[in-house]
Homo-oligomer: 382 residues x 4
């Protein structure tokens, strides 16, 4: 991780909700963990001037702004980090790239295929000018999943045949939870499918290198109405649960199951990846662990190995604490930003790319289409 | 469990492979565990006279026979227990029922819908004469799953919304494993779908009381040829993996995922049942455990409760050892036989019934049809 | 396991409580699982003629007797299996050995050092005449612990340095549980120390081959009085919890912690064995699992391997069900009896021997003495 | 957490090793997580001017100094945070307190009883002038252990009877690991006993409110020599493993087992706390979980509840991420600093106090004395 320290980077962040707080944590701790160029948390943007000023002070940003265009117009800004809702991503990102800013966008890349297609085009044009872009599928940077990728790349599980992927939460189990924009199709695009399913689809593609060739999807809404703030009932127009089967390249198959109505599952993003030679298990509720089964271990001694991914031999861990000291969910942001800054410095394409974000969007779209039309094996239209 | 001890039952068992051994274990230990009528392990039937004689002596049967018709003709036999491959079930079971024998059939009930339909008719006719029948979905009698059923019936998880069911094994991961009748469609009907999937479908229906209203299925064969005994390659004509989405009555949805190519998963029949008020988890690899999450536990103290189902307060456990002493897979057979003998004694219908077996067959059939024809949401034709 | 089938063995069992039922299960299923000589469950002995007759019928014994001397006098009996309380072991076992019967004694070998010393002498004399004896530390025959022993013997954990052994139950947590002989020093000798601690001490010695060179013990009684049947309070005069440190040969050290007042721990016999090259974990509540850590696994991939000890490659498992089908607590008895019968047939010393039982008794005795006298590092007086 | 924002605090930190990095992380993120007064990371002190300057820049400190006295002389500094080795704690802390600085000391409080006694006296004197002090037993501030304390205080486990406490690491299993000051008695005082055992003793006292009335200790050194930097062998003069039994107030008993030679245990600080009504389990390798067993749950449904301590209803969690998103080891520092700053603001005594640190030191001392002298039940001399 021996990047030089001479260059400095000034970051402007648009948005300051939950994701804005997580991104701030990522930027704030980057220099302490990694030998990257000095990061300056320069500007944070939100529409409510008072609120954004308060948040800027709390989270460590130098300036609070109310118009994202001011960040793009600011020549001192190197990196624009976009944490707004998905429907504004395309406009901001394309403007920033055209202004020569490196751009990091929180997932999903966009709410529509047209938008994400335009963003991909802008990213390609920018890259030819040395301007980098990435979409923040931060789970790729969880050390256990970095290790999973390395093991799969090294052939430790052989050819991947079958993946079980799920993302289960339970916060919608409460029927008194009020209506919100996340439950309206016109605002959120989809429900749990795009929110949680996108992470799983990205990891399936990323970890195995396989593409999705066909999908069959089923969506379910369990709670059709919820009270809004004024006590009236609003209609929930997105999916509470999404189930899909994915045909992957090379004859592999995958099972996708995502819901926000699974009581007891707080944040279970679980993956089981079965290959010809072994298999790998992961669960985000225990994000410092990876389980590996190797069919080539001696007979009678085979078993899933619980690898506590907290040693200096593991990805990113040398940057943190001694062996065995676990890290948290937020650290994946610091890792992702480290990789992004490295890409900028080295002039190499950043990852996950806008293409990745667009490909995930295409799969989500195909699942929703299959569910709506009752089609088996809809092909994603990338 | 205070049945009287006066009556005695004589059992004749057809078949002596793996299942014959497991059934023998079940019958052999029934009287020691439960206050049922005295069981006599009277006759065992197999085609190879020497082999069956040797097995009879080992397993504790009084007589070894080579023709199942001799058991049915024997007036001393009360119960016929059928452990042969599925294609012979219908003929033997119908003959035995018509001869007034109580009949227990190992799952699957039959290989074809026509056969199972005929068996259901025979079972109904027999029952009107006080002759009982059951299909041996033995996992219903695992104490943890008996407890799961009780908790669901009592409303502890509320309305069931979403089920994740899987049955994962890994013995077909070995590409050198030779060809066998289990891998040929004309003999086995289906591959893992009927073999392991049938258990999961039965449990989904049984535990929740829901029916299956539509299915979408995908089947995969990963290893297309295997060596037969003579070194030649034979064609594998059944599925190695089966994935399906099930629409259940009442708007619930289920995910089915079964394979015999999941390295490291030795016998993982896992169920996650999510309802409006809580959820339940089970995994056959830890068959003495049930996990319960209750949304009505106090805030801040909610969590999955690992219930070690080994206490005298739990189903069947008072028949065995002190609290905390685990039982094995085979005990489910003893429990199932206890229930069957109780039904006979009490003149009440036995469970799982042939109707249950037929309904499961219909779902399996619909999944296979959906997969073959690329149809979404094929309705099972019971 | 290819012993010849020509010889037959007739067993007489003394005692028919919990342990009598478990031993009967062991004998009843021995021939079905293993190719041993034919076992005849000939006589069972108890003091209450009606009760023992009923139990004999239930458990599968041919005859019910009320005087153990009748078994010893019966020339047809080959094996005497003693399941009575510990204070009668010496008298019965010595008489049986002198009568030329092979003798299996339930643990503990005896209640006093003098008794166990006399039993050792009788066993040695008998062995010189080809008459075998063993004490039933059945946990040695749990497949996972057989595997543990093999791995340790093969050097997979290197030199053993440190053992953590515990046996935790919770049935005495209920303060309303009535007084019983198990809670009186004059009847039971010790409390949890001898009842559960003896198993742990035996396993420590057996698995590592190390002897116990010194102990420091602490005993605690938490509930000093309990109601007896008539409503009066009786004094509890044994230990509820026992903690000890053991100095083992070769400079190793062990921690022993046993209690029957650990709410939630139903039957946790847990062992952690740490060596120079790796370590091994076991917990009886998951008796089909063994966990192995190997410091020689590749860096970055090290982790505890959860070995599901249910494969035909594992000790005894080929005798039971296909891979992944778990067995229960009781199977350890069948395994132990298989080994005992093999010893008789082959004329080789049986294990665990009376010497083993005596050595364990000496450690238990030393722990009790250390606790009573406040001595650090009392040496066991074998 | 509604402290006012008007006051600001300037921190000077002495020391910049592993603990200095962890403390910096704690201070850096405090304002983002909690509504405390503004924290200024003012000065960091180390002996090597170049190194400390580099670290200051990386970790976010404004100034780098080489003499701790300069921090104490700086009137702008409010808080002195001491992360140096234990032998310098007393001198620095007493000087800082006398200069009117609030003082936080990394554990152990000191290396000798005399030093810690003097520190307690200084802390008492300072507190009478409104100057606060605390020792950083940071594990008290792990949310799961905060919850454990609350549950115990509320009587959820009843009277605590028996504690099993262990802290197991494995980094000394490597025999090629070189000699260091941590392995020399004259520098480190003790080995694993003071390093890891102190945490366990503090938690036992803190969580249950019990005092330690007597101890019996055993220490072991497994590797007696290690190479130093120049290739020569140096003598290891501290303990590799420490085992002790503790008599606690109220008749309770505790088992302490700590080692740095347990292959596979990376950072297992595990606690089992058994009471009359229930029990609690914790393991630092899964620091976001707490397990609770409640004997008052309905019969048949009792079991350890795995509480994922990541919800806004849990201590400190509202300051971080949505439910189910785990936090890491380092967050305990932020929590501890939050509590310390609150104490200063509110003028209430800080916790853990120097008295707590001294009491732990007394127990560690008594264990070492018992081990050296072969005494059972040595009383700690607070």
């Amino acid at each position: 991780m021996g990047s030089s320290n001479e260059k400095e980077f000034r970051v402007g962040m648009i948005g300051y909700g939950f994701m804005g707080r997580a991104h701030s944590q990522g930027w704030r701790n980057l220099n302490a963990a990694f030998a990257t160029p000095r990061i300056h948390m320069e500007s944070i943007v939100g529409r409510d001037a008072n609120a954004v000023a308060r948040v800027a002070s709390q989270l460590g940003w130098n300036r609070a702004l109310t118009d994202w265009r001011d960040v793009i117009a600011d020549p001192s800004i190197d990196i624009v980090d976009i944490c707004t809702p998905g429907d504004s991503h395309a406009e901001i990102a394309i403007a920033a790239l055209e202004a020569g800013k490196h751009v990091l966008v929180e997932k999903p890349l966009a709410n529509t295929m047209d938008e994400s297609r335009a963003m991909v085009a802008a990213a390609r044009a920018a890259q030819s000018r040395g301007v980098m872009s990435a979409v923040n599928f931060n789970y790729r940077r969880v050390p256990a999943l970095m290790l999973a990728k390395r093991l799969i790349d090294e052939g430790r599980v052989g050819d991947v045949l079958h993946i079980r992927g799920a993302y289960l939460q339970d916060w919608l189990s409460d029927p008194t939870l009020p209506m919100s924009w996340r439950l309206q199709k016109e605002r959120a695009g989809t429900g749990v499918l795009g929110d949680l399913g996108a992470h799983v689809v990205d990891l399936m593609r990323h970890l195995t290198g396989k593409s999705v060739e066909g999908v069959t999807g089923h969506l379910r809404t369990f709670t059709h109405q919820r009270p809004d703030g004024s006590g009236k009932l609003g209609n929930v127009t997105v999916d509470d649960a999404a189930l899909a089967t994915l045909a992957l390249s090379g004859g592999a198959v995958a099972n996708l199951d995502v819901t926000r109505n699974a009581p007891g599952r707080k944040n279970e993003l679980s993956l089981s990846i079965f290959g010809t030679k072994g298999s790998i298990l992961f669960n985000l509720e225990n994000l410092n662990e990876l389980w590996l089964f190797d069919r080539e271990d001696p007979a009678g001694e085979q078993g899933y190995r619980r690898i506590l991914v907290t040693e200096s031999a593991h990805p990113y861990l040398a940057a943190w604490w001694p062996d065995g000291h676990i890290i948290g969910w937020e650290h994946s942001f610091t890792h992702q930003f480290f990789e992004f800054v490295n890409s900028i410095q080295n002039g190499t394409p950043a990852s996950p790319s806008f293409e990745d974000g667009h490909a995930v969007q295409a799969v989500i779209d195909a699942i929703a289409n299959s569910a709506e039309n009752g089609h088996a094996l809809t092909a994603p239209e990338e």
